[in-house]
């Protein structure tokens, strides 16, 4: 029985929503930070997400993605990274000079490597 389904006793066990920082996987963060050090400069203003065309119609949100990567929350990224069209409008907005487009490319690359056990 999977978590979140009612069992025959009629109660529900929801999966934990905790960000468990002690067991989370920060390899993707290390992979990106090493190759694009400006990644660390984000102060979560959301300028990128405001201007993002993909974000108007999908759940793609670069500001949130940056936070997920920093916290080692990899699962939500797998879908997210595929939605960016790499147009680079976020680059023009970012007040901290983060090379946002490269961050998305590297995140996608890191996830591919993760899936092939190369990370």
């Amino acid at each position: 029985m999977s978590a979140g389904q009612a069992n025959r006793f009629g109660f529900v066990i929801n999966p934990s929503r905790l960000i468990d920082y002690d067991t989370s996987d920060r390899k993707v963060r290390e992979y990106i930070t090493l190759r694009e050090p400006s990644f660390t400069l984000c102060f979560a203003c959301g300028g990128c997400a405001a201007t993002c065309t993909a974000g108007q119609h999908t759940s793609f949100n670069l500001r949130r993605m940056n936070t997920y990567i920093r916290r080692g929350e990899i699962e939500p990224l797998r879908e997210e990274v595929t939605r960016c069209m790499l147009c680079g409008k976020c680059l023009l907005v970012c007040p901290r000079g983060v090379n946002t487009r490269n961050v998305v490319s590297l995140a996608a690359e890191a996830i591919r490597k993760l899936e092939r056990n190369e990370l």
Partner: protein
């Protein structure tokens, strides 16, 4: 040497320069206050009311005016200090217009320039009629009427924090410190003046660092229904109804947000004054990476230029509010007197 025989030049007649000149004169020194505008007062001259208590700016203006009404002070207006150089008998100060004066010490108080909001092109200042700066809103308060360019009453106003501050794209990584609390103050004033007008503050972080600032923030929520949205506005445009439309991420909701506004107020930040930069270039005064004048030590030397007889007061060293500017000016006087006594 008796203080009455010593002459101190003060470069810049804003809040810092006026307070420094007044304090020195009171102590018996002969002071020349040089101001580039028509009269001393600086940016405060256009301001309507001050944070955090919204007292009339005129109260502080009149305090400062009285401060410089002293027989030891001569005031030179419409003039800038162009260069400070060492001379056998002290310092020689070159003024615009070609004259020069000898001085025993100089206090530099050239202040700040307001960020030119048209440099953030995506906000449309100078392009769209109803995009104004925080300073222009103060002028509206002075006139007693907040209105759109066509004279009609606005039903929604947005205040955009951090315009020209904390923004690498305009080469200003620094925080201008006073804009957050100014926005909250102005939001309250709009709500008092126009109770049916909605007000939204778009912020990245609320920096309520001073005494009673946080209380003012709370008051704006508790009694004035000011709305706060956490996100940096990425761009503004105008729709077919000639209303401004802004795009922002509501970062707390995690979704992009669009909003129509009647007036967009840009909270323009502080930059090192152009006149101060010119003086610094000519006189060998060091500047930091944020372009403000660099002092010898951030903690215990923040009035010291590192040049003999030259001291700094106020926002030529960093953004600061009026309270801190006045304290900084008095500290500059203390350093100046210490230097003169020790010669």
């Amino acid at each position: 040497m008796k203080s009455t025989q010593l002459h101190i030049m003060v470069a810049g007649g804003g809040v810092a320069g006026m307070e420094a000149a007044g304090t020195l004169a009171e102590m018996g020194y002969r002071v020349t206050l040089v101001e580039k505008g028509d009269e001393p007062g600086g940016h405060l001259l256009q301001w309507h009311a001050l944070f955090p208590d919204r007292r009339p700016a005129e109260e502080v203006r009149s305090y400062l005016r009285k401060r410089i009404e002293h027989r030891n002070i001569s005031i030179i207006t419409k003039t800038t200090v162009e260069k400070i150089r060492h001379h056998i008998s002290g310092l020689e100060v070159n003024l615009s217009g070609g004259t020069s004066e000898k001085a025993d010490a100089v206090i530099v108080s050239t202040g700040f320039d307001l960020f030119d909001a048209s440099r953030k092109e995506e906000y449309g200042y100078g392009i769209y009629d109803n995009v104004i700066t925080s300073a222009e809103l103060e002028v509206m308060f002075n006139r007693g009427r907040v209105a759109k360019a066509d004279g009609t009453v606005p039903s929604r106003i947005g205040l955009i924090h951090c315009v020209g501050s904390r923004d690498e794209k305009v080469n200003n990584n620094h925080c201008s410190k006073v804009c957050c609390v100014t926005a909250v103050k102005q939001a309250i004033e709009i709500r008092k003046m126009l109770p049916s007008c909605e007000v939204f503050c778009f912020y990245m972080d609320m920096r309520m660092y001073g005494p009673y600032y946080e209380e003012l923030y709370r008051e704006s929520q508790e009694f004035y229904n000011v709305n706060f949205i956490r996100g940096k506005v990425s761009e503004a445009s105008v729709n077919i109804n000639n209303r401004l439309v802004i795009k922002v991420e509501d970062t707390l909701a995690g979704r992009p947000l669009k909003m129509e506004l009647d007036i967009m107020v840009l909270m323009a930040g502080m930059e090192m004054a152009a006149s101060g930069m010119k003086l610094a270039e000519a006189s060998g005064m060091k500047r930091g990476i944020n372009r403000f004048l660099e002092t010898t030590d951030h903690h215990y030397g923040n009035n010291l230029s590192g040049i003999k007889g030259v001291f700094y007061a106020g926002t030529c060293t960093a953004p600061m509010n009026i309270t801190d500017t006045i304290s900084h000016a008095r500290a500059a006087v203390a350093e100046t007197v210490r230097y003169l006594n020790g010669r």
